[in-house]
């Protein structure tokens, strides 16, 4: 480390420096929103499927539909290994049926990894209006309070995140601190 005048004494990307920048910084102004939405009890399923031409994403959805399973939330994208990462939220009471269906079709779907959370809820903030700071405030606030965010997306005018049910009330309380409701 150098202390010569005009030279940086610490790497500008240093985490310590980042923390020091924030200490003593004024509390950010609340972001005005219209409200929060909270879903009923749901379960989440996260699947890793083969990517590319053999993408079995729509087959998974078809199987869920064939078994009368409602889908309230979908996140689908290609991960760093080229697999299709798929997160679904379904009605909590449908979880057993979904697990049986996926288990029975595991090899034909080519499921590479699978996990589920039996009790989750979706919290949504509206309006999102495609504002980057709304997403940033949501993610940072929840993580600052130790709340694990399972999945997040925006659709139309809301931005939504999937949380384990046990964190939902805590999440709403800390979000009310950083977002301004009418």
């Amino acid at each position: 480390m150098s202390f010569l005048a005009g030279e940086p004494v610490m790497d500008k990307h240093s985490k310590t420096l980042e923390i020091m920048r924030r200490i003593g910084a004024p509390k950010p102004e609340k972001i005005r929103i219209s409200g929060f939405l909270k879903s009923p009890d749901l379960a989440s399923l996260t699947l890793l499927l083969p990517g590319g031409d053999t993408d079995s994403f729509s087959t998974v959805l078809q199987l869920m539909g064939d078994h009368e399973i409602n889908i309230r939330f979908i996140n689908k994208y290609r991960d760093s290994a080229g697999n299709t990462s798929l997160c679904l939220c379904i009605d909590a009471e449908s979880l057993d049926t979904a697990l049986i269906v996926l288990d029975a079709n595991e090899s034909s779907l080519g499921i590479r990894d699978f996990m589920y959370h039996p009790q989750v809820r979706i919290i949504s903030i509206y309006p999102h209006k495609e504002r980057p700071r709304v997403a940033e405030r949501l993610l940072t606030t929840l993580r600052m309070h130790g709340i694990d965010i399972l999945s997040t997306n925006n659709a139309s005018s809301v931005i939504s995140c999937v949380l384990n049910t046990e964190y939902v009330e805590q999440a709403l309380a800390c979000l009310a601190d950083v977002f301004e409701l009418p």
């Binding site: 990307h13 980042e18 924030r22 996260t46 993408d55 994403f57 729509s58 959805l61 078809q62 869920m64 539909g65 064939d66 078994h67 009368e68 399973i69 409602n70 889908i71 309230r72 939330f73 979908i74 996140n75 689908k76 994208y77 290609r78 991960d79 760093s80 990462s85 997160c87 979706i122 949504s124 209006k129 495609e130 504002r131 980057p132 700071r133 997403a135 940033e136 993610l139 940072t140 993580r143 600052m144 965010i149 399972l150 999945s151 997040t152 997306n153 925006n154 659709a155 139309s156 809301v158 931005i159 939504s160």
Partner: protein, 164 residues
């Protein structure tokens, strides 16, 4: 579920001339993604599509779509952002579009999402990313496939014509 013909949806909302940016395997820590969102905010860049998912090993994947024009403005600062957010990889997909399908109520109609994605798959349309919540679904597809997607979705759901 009832016949697909009975599912009336709102006119499609399509945003074209976008770029998809995937920031892959970002550490899960508070504020990890702040440098990216600060950059977007500083340049008044609207985020047309946003998704974050679990990448395993306490990492996250973050996908956004912004306009090509906005990308040109922020591109010089992206390397620094990549370093600061500690993304293990950044992937770009050029010339994409975001198609919004609003109205089918995926949450109360089992099979509604399968109708949509089955139809797109049969038409060989690749959905790079999808974000669906309750009754709205955003699909990121190649800009070249927008017209086909419009036709396919128009055959799958009852889409009112846009007022002139």
């Amino acid at each position: 579920m009832g016949s697909a013909e009975t599912l009336e949806i709102f006119p499609l909302k399509i945003r074209r001339d976008l770029i998809q940016l995937s920031f892959l395997r970002i550490p899960t820590r508070p504020g990890a993604t702040r440098p990216l969102f600060d950059l977007l905010e500083r340049h008044n860049v609207p985020v047309r599509f946003f998704l974050e998912g679990c990448a395993g090993d306490y990492n996250r994947d973050l996908i956004i779509c912004i306009s090509n024009e906005d990308f040109t403005r922020i591109e010089p600062e992206l390397d620094e952002v990549k370093t600061r957010i500690q993304a293990q990889a950044v992937e770009l997909v050029h010339s994409v579009a975001v198609v919004r399908i609003l109205g089918p109520h995926f949450d109360i109609r089992p099979g509604a999402s399968a109708l949509l994605f089955g139809a797109l798959q049969r038409a060989d349309i690749t959905v790079f990313c999808n974000a669906t919540t309750i009754t709205s679904s955003l699909c990121v597809i190649s800009d070249d496939e927008v017209e086909t997607a419009e036709r396919v979705i128009g055959r799958t759901f009852d889409v009112p014509k846009k007022k002139k």
